[in-house]
Subunit: 76 residues, 2 copies
DNA sequence: CTGTGACTGCTAGTCCGTG
DNA sequence: CCACGGACTAGCAGTCACA
C-alpha cells in the first residue's frame, strides 16, 4: 500500500502502546481486535476505518486528536 | 449503521465546509471523492477510512485533530 | 512477542440517476 | 444544492497458521 500517513499513524499508535508497557496482545484484547490486525496497523499496512481507529484510541485511553496532530502537511 | 461517532464527525465536517462557503460538490472535487459519498459521510452514514478522512481534511485545509478533539468519551 | 501470507464476507467508495 | 436510491468494483475487516 505504501502510504506515509498510515505509517505515521501506525508508528504513533505503537509508541503510545509502548508508553503503557503493553504488548500487541494486550492492546488487541482491550480493543477487541485481532492481534495480527493491530500489528499490521502499526506497520502502516492497513487503511483502517474511523471506527477501528476510535476503538484503538479508546483502548489506549487517548484522544484521536492526540495521534493525529500535525500528521497532515497542510499548505502554509 | 447508526454510529454516534460517525455522526459527530460528519457534522463537524459539514460545519467546517460551510465556514468556507463550499458546496458538497466543491469539497468532493477538491478532495477527489464522489459527491454522493461526501453527503453520506456528513450524515454519518458511512464509516470512512483514514486516508479518505485525510483527503477531506486536506481539502478543507484543516487538521485531522481539529475535527476529532473530544470526539471520544474517555473514562476520566 | 511479533511479522507475514492467505483467505472470505462484507463494506468502502464510484457512478449513474431521481425528486 | 442536497438527500437518497440502485448497481457495481475495489478494498477493508477479521481470522488463522506458521515462522
Amino acid at each position: 500500500m505504501e502510504n506515509d500517513l498510515l505509517k505515521k499513524l501506525g508508528t504513533r499508535i505503537r509508541e503510545k502502546r509502548k508508553t503503557l508497557g503493553w504488548t500487541q496482545e494486550d492492546l488487541a484484547s482491550t480493543a477487541q481486535i485481532d492481534r495480527s490486525y493491530i500489528g499490521s496497523v502499526e506497520r502502516g499496512e492497513r487503511n483502517l476505518t474511523f471506527t477501528v481507529l476510535c476503538q484503538i484510541c479508546t483502548a489506549l485511553d487517548c484522544e484521536v486528536a492526540e495521534l493525529t496532530v500535525g500528521i497532515l502537511e497542510l499548505p502554509q
